[in-house]
Symmetry: C2
DNA sequence: TCTTATTGTTGCATAGAGCAACAATAGTAA
DNA sequence: TTACTATTGTTGCTCTATGCAACAATAAGA
């Protein structure tokens, strides 16, 4: 298990990273019928942002994304997919980084690593909300889940990045069995349908969805039934990963 | 109209580009029931590669891709879509660039711009084969169409990049009306179906395809019929771009 | 004029999704 | 205990999309 290296901006040896390349992670979770995204707050600035990172000079791009994700959620083996790379000039706004550096007591000189123009590769992750433990990094002092429909203002083009991630998720969830990554081990058909409705932003026919999921062969019905809620107790299901 | 700047590797001011970022274009064309890809040959090396480029420091990423494409095909307003960014360590192989530099009479020192590790953003383009005029760039001496099913050996991971582009094209052609970008102005239903069969690598039911396309509302039947071929003359169609 | 291969069109079978109906049932209220 | 209620599991009907087969239309060649 990797021990998180807590070091400040001053101590960081920025020369170990590729210049001009960054990674932004849109980490999705699901809880209480709400899609959630992991958001960071930069120290003493009030700036909110997606968890991001940089690529070591001897590291694969995908590896860097996995590492960033691991450092943020303490989770390994997470569903992670690259969805788009952002490289418009408008995103090159040193205002934010200037603030971050000042808040950390570092001179915001033009040649500082963080003051460059960055091309950012976007990855989205699907995690089990109940298992993820948000962890702030060296640049930020807090790290928390935000409801997707009440996102605060984020720095730069991070709102756009989230939109791209959402669009990709929307497309993928219809073609691949990936939604289970957002659920806990076992779940009811209603919970799964509710998740799909939230992501697709539309009502889904209850009985059709039921049939489709059962016929897909990706679900295994557990004998036990969930209890506690009112009315007829639904069956519990578990995803089976075969193909 | 931009006049192509023909300059050698020596004359190029590499400092105008972002370091470590490159662009690779998979340019698709269609002719004689064959899907084709535009391939470059580096001067005096025999190395074959996808047409690529770099991003100016004050240029959007997408703009750079459009510029690269324009410089290679002399075409403007082309369907262009980013599909993946490649950043594995294995692609960092200076062997090829060393050869290219030598062939151009430039010292292949470790600190030369072209000898860096590059993270490459892949774009795919759909062009009308009959209108595109392949143009070699300053690094290459020829530029030609290759049948997809008889691609020669390419440098680095360019074969993989093409595979990713193909997979993306396959997904997109089923969901969006983009195939017309590969056809000439007017075409028969058989030609269009043949294109789809080539891309999807499977037979498509003739009558179903016909109905589907007509009902989509994206096609307009031209009164005239194509003549010259044997047997019953098919109608000609034209794509209508509305939505 | 006849033959042939291809295209345009239509009808039928099958599969999937939306919709409605109904039985089952866990909690709630009486 | 009993009746009520809301939710789930299931089934049948409809509508649509797609695959398949049949048939008429027809341009070129024999």
């Amino acid at each position: 298990m990797e021990k998180p290296q807590i070091e400040g901006i001053k101590d960081t040896d920025w020369s170990r990273f590729l210049p001009g390349i960054s990674i932004d992670c849109v980490i999705f979770g699901y809880h209480d019928r709400e899609l959630k995204i992991l958001i960071l707050e930069f120290k003493n600035t009030g700036y909110l942002a997606l968890p991001g990172g940089f690529v070591y000079k001897d590291e694969d791009l995908d590896e860097a994304a996995e590492r960033t994700l691991r450092e943020r959620t303490s989770l390994d083996n997470i569903y992670l997919d690259q969805f788009h790379t952002f490289g418009n000039m408008e995103r090159y706004d040193t205002e934010y980084m200037r603030g971050v550096l000042k808040a950390n007591g570092v001179a915001a000189t033009e040649d500082h690593f963080l003051m460059q123009r960055f091309i950012s590769v976007g990855y989205y992750a699907l995690v089990d909300f109940s298992k993820a433990h948000p962890t702030p990094d060296k640049l930020s002092d807090s790290c928390f889940w935000c409801d997707l429909d009440e996102l605060p203002e984020l720095i730069q083009d991070h709102r756009l990045i989230i939109q791209y991630a959402l669009d990709t998720l929307k497309e993928n969830i219809e073609h691949m069995p990936i939604s289970y990554n957002l659920m806990s081990e076992t779940f009811t058909m209603g919970e799964l349908r509710s998740l799909h409705e939230t992501i697709l932003e539309k009502k889904i026919n209850r009985t059709s969805f039921h049939r489709k999921m059962v016929n897909s062969g990706n679900l295994k019905r557990i004998g036990k039934k969930k209890t506690g809620g009112a009315h007829r107790a639904p069956y519990l299901y578990r995803f089976v990963k075969d193909n």
